[in-house]
Amino acid sequence: MYFDSFADFIAMGGHGLYVWLAYSIALAVVIFNVLTPILRKKQFMVEYQRRLKREQRLGEVNKAESPE
């Protein structure tokens, strides 16, 4: 371990703000890139299933109406 103590690690010899700022932005970018497609996929599934249910219901209504 290069640093003598955890406090030193955080302080980074005075450059702590910059280093941690840079690494947090990196983390944010990583999270953004991972979450965006996953959330989109979930939304897609939900909407698609809704559509399927709607079509099923319509199909049943039609079946109920047709034998006259």
Binding site: M1, Y2, F3, F9, M12, G13, G14, H15, G16, Y18, V19, L21, A22, Y23, I25, A26, V29, V30, F32, N33, V34, T36, P37, I38, R40, K41, F44, M45, Y48, Q49, L52
Partner: protein
């Protein structure tokens, strides 16, 4: 692709965690720049990836234009936002690194300016994709634009470097590579590899949802959703 994804994800997490911990905690500090030098472990990989991603986007676009492969089209479209975010990361970390090192948040040097122009190119492609409603036309237009951009990149790089030497007689550059001991550049290598894997994972994730959306009217998507 679904089977590769978990493996790539595991490798990504391993590489990135190892690289970050090594770079942050174990590598020695640079005798000139002190600890802010550690930002290199984010800045350099993101810059390399931002450029590679553009190449991939342009090549995928070319493949979809020439051989009319739909998958290539969707890969190209997925590349744009990822590459743009990486370019932003490279610029932001470059600026943050610059402040303690050179005293200002921003310097108009050749590398940073080229990265900024690359970001503009990405934004152009992404905006074009989202402006055109027809997905196929949007893909074709985006492919053409990214190819034009790819041809332009060497020209842009050359002209920006020429501009830079014209206006700055001095020899320093913000992103000069310090002489590094193995303890310093091995974590960098790990981070670069880790970023490449991260990029592959995210690209696969995005392309998957892109495929689902494009093919939403087809039978196999229906079966997939019904199976849940």
């Amino acid at each position: 692709m679904g089977k590769l994804l978990p493996w790539f994800a595991v490798v990504t997490v391993l590489l990135l965690t190892c690289g970050v911990i090594w770079g942050l905690a174990f590598a020695p500090e640079d005798y000139q720049q002190g600890n802010s030098f550690r930002i290199i472990y984010i800045h350099v990989p993101s810059a390399i990836l931002a450029q590679s991603c553009y190449m991939l986007m342009a090549i995928a676009g070319a493949i979809s234009l020439i051989w009319k492969m739909k998958v290539a089209d969707m890969v190209a479209k997925s590349c744009a936002p990822i590459g743009a975010s990486l370019a932003v990361l490279a610029l932001a970390t470059g600026a943050i690194w610059g402040k303690p090192t050179w005293g200002t948040w921003w310097v108009w040097d050749a590398r940073l300016t080229s990265m900024l122009i690359l970001l503009f190119l990405y934004i152009g492609v992404y905006t074009l994709h989202s402006a055109i409603e027809n997905e196929i036309t949007a893909g074709k237009a985006g492919a053409v634009l990214s190819l034009v951009g790819m041809v332009n990149i060497p020209i842009i790089k050359y002209s920006v470097e020429w501009w830079n030497t014209l206006h700055q007689g001095s020899t320093f550059t913000v992103t000069e590579r310090p002489k590094m001991e193995p303890e310093m550049w091995i974590p960098l290598l790990i981070m670069v590899l880790g970023f490449y894997c991260f990029f592959s994972v995210v690209l696969m994730l995005r392309t998957r949802i892109e495929i689902l959306q494009r093919e939403r009217r087809s039978g196999w998507v229906r079966e997939l959703v019904e199976a849940r």
